[in-house]
């Protein structure tokens, strides 16, 4: 399959490459995560029980409170942090948190990015070009 590219309207951070963890759900570091164990902990979240560590998180939108701005920085200091963040839309908190925590983030796509991508896809994020590149599609057999 050819490499597929998705243009983002918002971008920050350095180029990274890694494996996607995708859900059509929101994201809040305080509401959704067990930040000690590095897993989604809110039972209603579509990724409940799954580890986010070193994954490129692909979610619909940032939700909830202002704590994420501190928490991404704290999570990074312990190495229990996503590799990068990709959203259909973002709120200021997650942008401020990514800036403070020095994380790569892309947001704003023509398509619903949580539908276009699948968990297990290998992605390359190029913030300088505001581009997300899918370099390998996840196996359908898992």
């Amino acid at each position: 399959m050819m490499t597929e590219e998705f243009s983002a309207t918002h971008a920050m951070g350095e180029q990274v490459e890694g494996v996607a963890l995708v859900a059509s759900d929101g994201f809040s570091a305080r509401y959704d995560l067990d930040r000690i164990r590095g897993v989604f902990s809110r039972p209603q979240h579509k990724l409940a029980g799954q580890s986010y560590v070193d994954r490129i998180l692909v979610l619909d939108t940032a939700k909830g409170g202002v704590a994420s701005a501190w928490m991404l920085h704290e999570m990074k200091s312990r190495g229990v942090v996503p590799l990068a963040l990709v959203f259909n839309s973002v709120n200021p908190i997650i942008a401020q948190g990514a800036a403070f925590g020095d994380l790569t983030m892309l947001a704003g796509f023509e398509r619903d990015i949580t539908v276009a991508l699948r968990t297990g896809d290998r992605l390359r994020l190029l913030p300088g070009q505001r581009l997300l590149r899918r370099v390998l599609v996840a196996s359908t057999t898992g």
Binding site: R30, W70, Q96
Partner: protein, 410 residues
């Protein structure tokens, strides 16, 4: 971004390392959102509990606090959101010594920066509300949505590092709700029922927040058949912000920018209808048990009027499970002076000050106290606490007090 001479001076480090670092952070965020320049702000409000900052955040703050005084001192009134500890009640909650140590270091660092430790998420009720058109840099989402919507002020959600940056530079990137273009309503909500109690106002806010769905959605609500008080709008806004990341709502004929629907309704706005059934469904979705381990009134902190109401419900009662009521350091002395604290405590409750329950190392204190099933009248709290391992349940203040007496939520 377009910078003034003073801003260029800050960026060059001529006004110290802290202001340079703050402006660099603001430019990264401003560039991300396409801000053209920075807007002067009159106040900053910093969300900063020790659980969120952790060792890394506190060490970062301490590094700022060691800079020369002229470099590190905030330029505008900068106040704090609730933090994690009420030192006088830490033993009651079984908070550990390491938590107290983090919190003390955090408070010490803030004092070195000239930050006022107001420790409140209801500063619009207790410190100084922002006024219509006033540009501010506020932290707690409940503070932002109330200030934008009820006061007509202008703020984005400012996380702790960004609010500190605003305190140091006296400005913030001009994007989002600082701009007229973002303040029009793009979701038109028709309600056919007006809530009566604070938990109902919170639940209605939660339903609208979920439907609206993201930070850039601005609901305008039509059909409210009363003038809700400040506490009702506090719960309404806090829940909407929590469930939907919403920062601004309008209520036709009530909030300052919406005397008439046409004043705020944007072309192509989405139409939704919300009724009592939606609110009941939301509340029912959290009713997973009838037993209760702890009752908590917090998130947002209680006003003096809420504490008065709570004290009235506590008279002549005896609690069999802990009941915690959390307020601000500005309200607590009045509650003490007027006897509300004593009446709550005589029933077996505890009144805490300057903290917020969900910011108090909630997971650890749940484990230390054996708390899981929690009753509250705060819709915001039920949204948050699931992630901390609780089974939160939403009920009226009266039902919560009854649950504290019997151990069962009816």
């Amino acid at each position: 971004m377009r910078l003034s001479d003073e801003e260029r001076s800050m960026l060059a480090g001529e006004m110290g390392a802290a202001r340079r670092q703050a402006l660099q952070h603001q430019m990264r965020v401003g560039d991300f959102f396409g801000a053209e320049d920075l807007v002067p702000v009159t106040q900053a409000h910093v969300m900063a509990d020790s659980e969120s900052l952790g060792e890394a955040g506190i060490a970062w703050l301490e590094q700022l606090a060691r800079l020369p005084i002229d470099d590190r001192t905030v330029r505008i009134p900068t106040i704090t959101d609730p933090r994690g500890i009420d030192f006088s009640q830490a033993a009651t909650l079984r908070q550990a010594a390491w938590m107290l140590n983090l919190e003390q270091r955090l408070a010490d660092a803030f004092r070195e920066l000239g930050v006022m430790l107001t420790d409140t998420c209801i500063n619009y009720q207790t410190v100084q509300p922002a006024t219509r058109g006033e540009h501010v840099a506020f932290g707690d989402t409940g503070v932002v949505i109330y200030s934008n919507s009820v006061c007509g002020a202008r703020s984005n959600f400012e996380g702790g590092p960004s609010a500190i940056a605003a305190g140091l530079t006296g400005r913030t990137p001009r994007y989002g709700f600082h701009l007229d273009a973002a303040r029009g309503a793009n979701v038109h909500v028709r309600v056919d029922w007006t809530p009566a109690t604070l938990d109902e106002w919170g639940a209605l806010g939660a339903v609208i927040g979920r439907l609206a769905g993201n930070y850039w959605a601005v609901p305008v609500i039509e059909g409210i058949e009363c003038a809700p008080g400040s506490d009702a709008l506090k719960h309404f806004g806090a829940a909407m912000a929590s469930f939907g990341s919403i920062a601004l709502f309008h209520i036709v004929g009530l909030t300052p920018e919406a005397p008439k629907l046409a004043d705020v309704l944007a072309a192509g706005a989405r139409e939704v209808a919300v009724g009592r059934r939606d609110v009941e469904a939301l509340r029912a979705s959290y009713r997973v048990d009838d037993r209760v381990d702890v009752v908590v009134f917090s998130g947002p902190q209680l006003s003096l009027l809420e504490l008065r109401a709570l004290a009235g419900l506590c008279d002549g009662r005896r609690f069999v499970v802990p009941l915690l009521a959390v307020t601000s350091p500005q309200v607590k002395p009045d509650a003490d002076r007027m006897g509300f604290t004593r009446r709550i405590e005589e029933a077996g409750g505890t009144v805490l000050s300057g903290m917020c329950f969900y910011q108090s190392h909630a997971r650890e204190i749940a484990e230390a106290n054996g708390w899981k099933r929690l009753a509250t009248n705060s819709a915001k709290m039920v949204n948050i606490l699931g992630g901390y391992g609780y089974l939160p349940m939403l009920a009226s203040m009266e039902a919560c007090v009854d649950a504290a007496c019997s151990g069962y939520l009816k």
